[in-house]
């Protein structure tokens, strides 16, 4: 079959699976519905990989473009460029991993609802794949909302507990509001151009000069995507939701969904706004750079302060999203391919870390760093995985996260010489926070941290286990899945073919004219030649430096658990994370205004 024909199937197959599971879910035993779910997810993953391999063959050649319903230029277009297809493949593979991981999860599935969890995960997969592949702005909004709706439900899945419900509600309100802002922006673009496809809108915009309307459309469309990407000040929902969602869902939320927001910003800018009728490159770079730096710093600082392990990991996702935004902001093919590698590596590492925390949660009914002190000495395998994950998160070569960080920080260094230092700092602090927790929990190192010295509000880590009862023996998938994910992250860093494929993907992604010609005119887009991203000496040294810094920070923190100075300094920042929906909404509106101020010199 023609490769292009396969593109809609990546969305259709999981949806069919979800419908089958819901129709039969009441009767099927748990095991069968798990197998059915895995099978549909795996078929989707295979399809996405097939598209990726056919689209990613080196040499000049177009990537597959499919007009759904067969309506050229009137319908909706799906584009299988290597980056979009690659993201769809990443999503699908992670979904398979998550379904395998949750094999023994939810020991007591909700009565008469055995099929519900895998069905929701399959719909989530369809939504994320559709968002990665679509070449149509309104269709992107539909998939944005689909991802959202499923994610709210999955976040609040454990209705017997108060925290997930509160997190899911904040997530739902803030994300929906962001989505509506995006839709207003889409409507403004439609009023100007009368088109909905990325390529068509971009071409029409370039026939006229930029003005207030284009600026407003950019700000509004980007607002929703930045909410999904959890950029400061749109990020408040993320820690609240990611800290409370069921562990398998956290793996997906932090591993790929947030990154899809960053992808959306980059995709929309490059295809729609990057021409002369859009937003000039320096303006985009300024706006995203400011937001990215703020996000990275705030995420890292908050990450270090947490004792609730899932919340700690959630803030580290915020910090890394900031780095991804910086990689997109520099507007070079190297920045894009470096960030893409970073996202690939990060997805494996972060999902593996969440998986390890899930093991702790189900064995000890808590994910609190202080309460768990020394208790997990009996789990050396999980401890080893957790430590490796922490090191990989800090950018240790030769992990994929390390390679991505090295390439992205070099690309960022061309824009501002101090940016590589930020990459090193943020990776070191987030990796160090993970290692600190690991040292305390799995090794019982240092002194037992004391509680109750501060009167600051704080989320502690008491949770109900997700497996019905506490686990005595750790089932194989709970450890095999994180091990496989870390191995995959390592493979991304050491297999040179991955690097060159991602390099080509980045080059095609940033070729605006080529994208529009491929989609609208069916011309083959020749891949612009670029040296593929690879390990360089400075990158290796900076990676080793940040890993060493992370270890040092962790050791110091374990030796002297008394938190002074920094804690007091950061108290006002911590208070902003108030859990109040009204606060989060107010910050969202303020963020829109901030984005306007940052881009407004773009109107000439």
């Amino acid at each position: 079959m023609d490769t292009a024909r396969l593109l809609p199937l990546v969305v259709a197959v999981p949806l069919l699976g979800a419908a089958v599971l819901v129709a039969t879910g009441r009767r099927l035993p748990r095991l069968v519905s798990d197998i059915v779910g895995c099978a549909f997810a795996a078929v989707t993953a295979a399809t996405a990989l097939l598209v990726l391999f056919r689209a990613g063959r080196p040499g000049p050649g177009a990537y597959p473009v499919e007009w759904v319903s067969g309506w050229r230029r009137v319908g909706i277009v799906l584009v299988g460029d290597p980056l979009g297809a690659g993201l769809a493949a990443l999503v699908s593979l992670l979904v398979v991993a998550v379904l395998v991981y949750s094999w023994r999860y939810f020991e007591e599935p909700p009565r008469r609802h055995t099929g519900s969890f895998p069905a929701l995960i399959l719909v989530f997969q369809a939504g994320m794949c559709g968002f990665a592949l679509t070449g149509d702005l309104f269709n992107a909004f539909v998939f944005f909302e689909l991802m959202g709706v499923v994610a709210y439900a999955l976040t609040g899945f454990r209705v017997e507990e108060p925290k997930p419900l509160q997190g899911a509600l904040a997530f739902g309100v803030v994300n929906s509001l962001g989505g509506y802002a995006t839709l207003l922006g889409i409507t403004l673009l439609y009023a100007r151009t009368g088109e909905l496809g990325f390529a068509q809108i971009g071409r029409r915009l370039d026939t006229e000069g930029p003005d207030g309307l284009v600026l407003a459309a950019f700000v509004l469309v980007t607002t929703g995507l930045l909410v999904k990407a959890a950029a400061v000040p749109f990020h408040f929902w993320l820690p609240d939701a990611h800290a409370v969602a069921p562990t398998p869902v956290c793996m997906l939320l932090s591993g790929v969904m947030v990154e899809l927001g960053v992808y959306g910003v980059a995709r929309v800018y490059w295809t729609v706004f990057s021409g002369p009728g859009g937003l000039s490159h320096p303006d985009f770079t300024r706006a995203l750079l400011v937001l990215g730096v703020l996000t990275a710093l705030l995420g890292a600082a908050m990450c270090w302060q947490q004792r609730h392990l899932k919340r700690l990991l959630a803030f580290s996702t915020v910090a890394h999203t900031g780095l991804f935004l910086i990689g997109v902001a520099v507007l070079t093919p190297e920045g894009i391919s470096g960030t893409a590698l970073y996202v690939l590596g990060h997805a494996g590492v972060k999902a593996a870390l969440f998986a390890c925390v899930g093991v702790l949660l189900d064995r000890y009914a808590t994910v609190d760093e202080h309460e768990l002190f020394g208790r997990a000495r009996e789990l050396p395998e999980a401890g080893a995985l957790f430590a490796v994950g922490g090191l990989a998160l800090s950018g240790l070569p030769p992990f994929g996260s390390g390679l991505g960080k090295a390439v992205a920080e070099e690309a960022a260094g061309h824009t501002a010489a101090w940016l590589p230092a930020l990459y090193v700092l943020v990776s070191a602090v987030t990796g160090g926070a993970v290692l600190r927790a690991g040292l305390r929990i799995f090794a019982g190192a240092g002194r037992r941290p004391r509680d109750g010295e501060e009167d600051e509000p704080e989320t502690t880590g008491e949770e109900e286990p997700e497996t019905g009862g506490r686990l005595r023996r750790i089932p194989v998938p709970l450890l095999a899945v994180p091990a496989a994910l870390l191995a995959a992250s390592l493979a991304i860093g050491v297999i040179p073919a991955v690097g060159s494929a991602v390099g080509r993907a980045g080059a095609l992604f940033t070729d605006t004219g080529g994208y529009r010609r491929t989609v609208l005119d069916g011309h083959a887009a020749a891949a612009p030649a670029h040296p593929p991203p690879h390990w360089q000496l400075t990158g290796i040294l900076l990676g080793l430096l940040s890993a060493a810094l992370a270890v040092t920070l962790a050791t110091l923190a374990v030796r002297r658990p008394a938190r002074t100075g920094t804690a007091a300094l950061l108290a006002p920042v911590r208070r902003l994370q108030s859990g109040h929906i009204g606060d989060y909404v107010a910050w969202l509106v303020a963020g829109t205004a901030l984005l306007t101020v940052l881009t407004v010199p773009g109107v000439r």
Binding site: P162, L165, A168, A170, L177, T187, Q577, G582
Partner: protein, 114 residues
């Protein structure tokens, strides 16, 4: 008249967000979100309107008559479904939240901080 419909859409968006920010009751907040969303329908259909156009249904109209833009109407339909479903899901969360927290006042939710 030339910009009034657009400005009304902007007003509805802002007033809805104002309600969300100042809400003391989560059910009321969900209602405000629904209000906010109606701004998108108004803007979509205002953009699609053409002076003197009729509805794009050719059941008994000649096929060359001047019609308003059908695309935005299709988009608005999709949008309405999205709005209703999000409302349902959020209300379901509020129902359970009330059971577990004993309140629907956002000021009193205190499980997640810092």
């Amino acid at each position: 008249m030339t910009v009034l419909p657009y400005l009304v859409a902007g007003w509805i968006f802002l007033i809805g967000v104002y309600g969300l920010v100042t809400s003391r009751d989560l059910i009321h907040a969900v209602g405000c979100l629904a209000v906010t969303q109606s701004s998108t329908y108004v803007l979509l259909l205002a953009v699609g309107y053409r002076d003197g156009g009729t509805a794009p249904v050719f059941a008994d109209a000649p096929t060359d008559s001047r019609v308003v833009d059908p695309v935005v109407q299709a988009l608005a339909l999709t949008d309405i479904v999205v709005g209703a479903t999000v409302t349902a899901l959020l209300l379901a969360l509020v129902v359970q939240l009330r059971k577990r927290h004993g309140t629907v006042d956002p000021d009193a939710l205190s499980e997640l901080k810092g």
